[in-house]
Symmetry: C2
Subunit: 559 residues, 2 copies
């Protein structure tokens, strides 16, 4: 190890834990890593030490858990790397989003103010806190009614997960706390504030989650029409200096140096989001390179030189992935969790027993059986909407479907149809981008599902694109490390750093033309079902309503 | 036991065995029963003692197996009943249909002529022999083209299972054997011929399976257009004296008395079919009483005073169920076999384990869990077309579908949705009959599925009809016994005998109006899916074609 080598630390704050990785600046080699689980995990039932039940759809976190990652995981990763802490020149972080912290002027979370510790709204609202849906519905209706131009930048829908919906919920449900709150802060920025003592809003979450477009937020007129008194939400609680990704937010404070064991004064990069930060880690920051982070759900991010309105995208943001280009985001609500649901609920003992006997997981067993089939042999098509459809239909009242079932249908048949359905869903997104003037040339996969070779080959065949696979198991943390290197001045910009430090295996899966043609015929049927159930028919929406009525009826009988 | 009591024997010839039952004439009490399995079962792979493989879709039987039932099961049933054989006054039989025997002039099956014993076409073609589909397709196309009036009596479709399609296959594939054949005989009539030495075609199979309508068969012009040389099929091979159900075909021969141990000279009734003969066993021979024989599939039979053309019915036949009224038949291709397929392929070990622990079958376990739900709570609707749709769409290219799936969907949810889907399918049939001017007032269930109380209640709620249940576990054999009593002169006609000897529990399941209303909302969604996939969309048909191409492609690669 050269004495001249320099290192950076990337920290990835996930839903249940934070992971730190120590990376060599010169070539991106990952030298040490450490994970720290959040002691409070996710508060969905009740606050710590409280008997009061949280309402449905709430999901809170405790900010001290994030600081604990800095204290535990960072020094552990440095120790594991076996490098001198003094050789670390920068640190950067990425976070789940949209995850929001209400704070005082100095960044103190309201839940850390003893008098507010028993108030749910004083805590961090995690990305998957979905209790602001009524507020989101009103935002969307009003924006549509008023023809707000920014709505089209979000595929026509503002999510209940985002800054305005969650902020409006706080405003309406705990006005006293709302008035006390000085800043409504993305956790992605709050953690940077903890590290460097400066509050900088990163361009990524400000754009994707904060409706910050062309230098402006939604107008006071809009907000006033939404809820009288809410018109000053932007200047009072939200608006703040914007930092571009890869810029320096500040330098490590003495206090944070004490927590992390890193040198005081090193560069702290502007905050970032786990999905978006993965693009440079996969060397995929050029236009046309779509990165799919495939896990329980899939997030698609892609840079482009052009600004286009793509129907059903999650958002397009100036500098949202890489400073200086337009960053596009799209998503599939359910992917790996659909496969997990199927293996958990729909596979008989004869299969799970055979898997065990063969030393395979149920996934591996079904994959092996499914891989032996010709395209179309199972006679099935599924719709991958078990968690609704994010892109391009933007409708969470949709649901899953399997068609073509016969008495000869086997578990591996349905399993394969489900794998394929998510590939078809991806193809719809890719084609919608292309049809909107945003070409997609290469598909780069990150996330746990890249391990399934059958799934990857299906995606290559269905999309007729070469598939590249990130060559790191900690894509987000590596992406953060790349940003740390840029913030520290080791590279002039993120694309340059990505070339040196990012890791990808290109063209690992190539489309087979015969299979691609066979898939065209199945895709045609998928599209028919997609447009019928997603656009023409009300069946799925009606079934959800019938289900809600039935559940309410049952609960009415019980109570 | 009074010395004056008289008895009758009913024999039900099923797909794999024959069952004889001894019944008291005065009140229908079943005193003894015996079953004899066919030694050759169903020949689907090869002829006995032959290495030659039968083509796909073939299903043959050996007629000597039927005689063996007379020799074994009848005396055993009489012995089990503990009654003197001398007190038996008549015997009647019912059979699967359409099951065809090619014979010489004296009724000798061609397969019993040694020189033909190695020719597949010399054997009995069982109802489920489906290799005559190309012939059936041509019959339907030509009949439609020529506007043959009889086609509408069969819901617009002649089945590949029936007399003309199977006969045409024999004509085209083994002309020598066709020319040697003197009679093309329903097994239902052949067994009666064995008992009494007389060949009488029963009105039921002649009408439903033999296209015998208003005293006429399809014309020589039609048959000639179908296949030159086939024009004399009717006079040469088919046409023969017709007997009404419940009439005497003849008296028991000395030879048959020797086989059965019954008195020579007792009445032998005209042949009948297993489904149709069940109606009097369930005391359901009045207009408006629809009998559903619910097992792996469902057959619906109902008498009416009016002749109407009901779309998608299997057939309407003068005296087809009871002499003097119009007998209607409809069907659902898959019912119990869909539930069996689901429990076999789609229920995880945790459920099968819990069922075992609770001492329940998987069906019972799922039923108990499903029964705890409110109507609509699972949020699902299924289409019960895993084996295609017989009535009212008459399309075997259709397939099964489940819509509304989410990550919260459990096995008992899908199971209940499948139960409901078959009830919705029945409601479509009932409403089609009503809309065509053939009212349905009561739903009478026979067959194994009547044991499932949840399923029965769902049918009552979905159809808004009181459900009666046959009170015999051997409905067809009891029905035959009733016909034997009429043939023997103990009752003037079948309806009178049915009142005395039939057994039914009326109104066992009554519709609940609140649940019926909840089901109306789900049925609306079922109908939408029914009409979309059954009438508007080509998706299911395309998927079957894609599957066939894929399988052919794989087999091409292997060979």
């Amino acid at each position: 190890m050269s004495e001249l080598e320099q290192y950076v630390v990337g920290v990835d704050f996930g839903t249940l834990s934070g992971r730190a990785v120590v990376v060599r600046v010169s070539d991106g080699v990952e030298l040490g890593t450490a994970v720290h689980d959040y002691p409070h995990a996710v508060l969905e039932e009740r606050l710590a030490g409280s008997d009061r039940r949280l309402p449905p759809e709430w999901a809170l976190q405790v900010p001290e858990d994030y600081r604990e990652v800095l204290r535990q995981a960072v020094p552990a990763a440095v120790a594991a790397a076996g490098v001198p802490a003094s050789a670390v020149i920068g640190i950067a972080t990425d976070f789940t989003a949209c995850t929001m912290v209400p704070t005082l002027a100095d960044g103190t979370p309201l839940c850390e103010v003893p008098v507010y510790a028993d108030r749910p709204h004083a805590y961090v609202k995690l990305w998957k806190h979905h209790a602001a849906q009524p507020q989101a519905d009103r935002i969307n209706e009003l924006a549509d009614e008023r023809g707000e131009a920014w709505l089209r930048r979000y595929g026509g829908l503002i999510s209940s997960e985002w800054e305005f919906a969650k902020g409006l919920q706080l405003f309406e449900e705990d006005r006293e706390l709302y008035d006390v709150m000085e800043h409504w802060v993305e956790a992605a920025d709050w953690i940077v504030w903890q590290l460097c003592g400066r509050y900088v809003r990163n361009a990524c979450t400000a754009g994707y989650k904060g409706i910050y477009q062309c230098g402006r937020y939604p107008s006071p007129e809009f907000l006033s029409a939404l809820a009288p008194g809410f018109e000053s939400f932007v200047p009072d609680k939200l608006e703040h200096e914007i930092g571009q990704l890869g810029q320096v937010a500040g330098t490590l404070t003495a206090e944070a140096a004490g927590w992390t064991g890193l040198p005081e004064g090193i560069a702290v990069a502007v905050g970032n989001v786990d999905a978006h930060v993965t693009a440079p880690a996969a060397q995929a920051v050029d236009p046309g390179q779509m990165v799919a982070i495939m896990g329980t759900s899939t997030c698609h991010v892609m840079s482009a030189d052009v600004l286009r309105e793509v129907p059903g995208m999650c958002g397009v943001v100036d500098g949202g992935i890489v400073a200086g280009t337009w960053g596009y985001e799209a998503g599939q609500s359910g992917v790996g969790d659909i496969f997990a649901w199927f293996t958990r609920t729909s596979v008989p003992a004869s299969y799970t027993g055979a898997a065990t006997a063969a030393g395979e997981s149920v996934h591996e067993h079904l994959t092996r059986l499914a891989a032996a089939q010709e395209v179309g042999e199972h006679g099935l098509v599924a719709l991958d909407w078990h968690s609704g459809n994010r892109s391009v239909l933007v409708d969470h009242e949709l649901s899953g479907l399997v068609v073509g079932l016969t008495l000869a249908t086997r578990p591996e048949d349905v399993y394969r149809a489900l794998l394929e359905s998510t590939a078809f869903g991806t193809r719809v997104i890719v084609e919608t981008f292309r049809d909107s003037g945003v070409p997609v040339e290469e598909f780069v996969v990150a996330g746990g599902l890249s391990q399934n070779a059958l799934l990857m080959q299906i995606y290559a065949d269905v999309t007729r694109m070469p598939l590249s696979v990130i060559d790191s198991e900690q894509g987000p943390a590596l992406g953060s490390a790349i940003h740390a290197a840029v913030a520290a001045g080791a590279y002039p910009d993120v694309p340059t750093a990505a070339k040196a430090m990012g890791k990808v295996r290109r063209g690992v899966f190539l489309p087979d033309e015969a299979r691609a043609q066979a898939y065209d015929a199945l895709y045609e049927q998928y599209l028919d079902l997609h447009d019928h159930f997603g656009r023409a028919s009300t069946t799925m929406r009606r079934l959800k309503a019938i289900r809600r009525d039935a559940v309410a009826g049952r609960e009415g009988k019980v109570s």
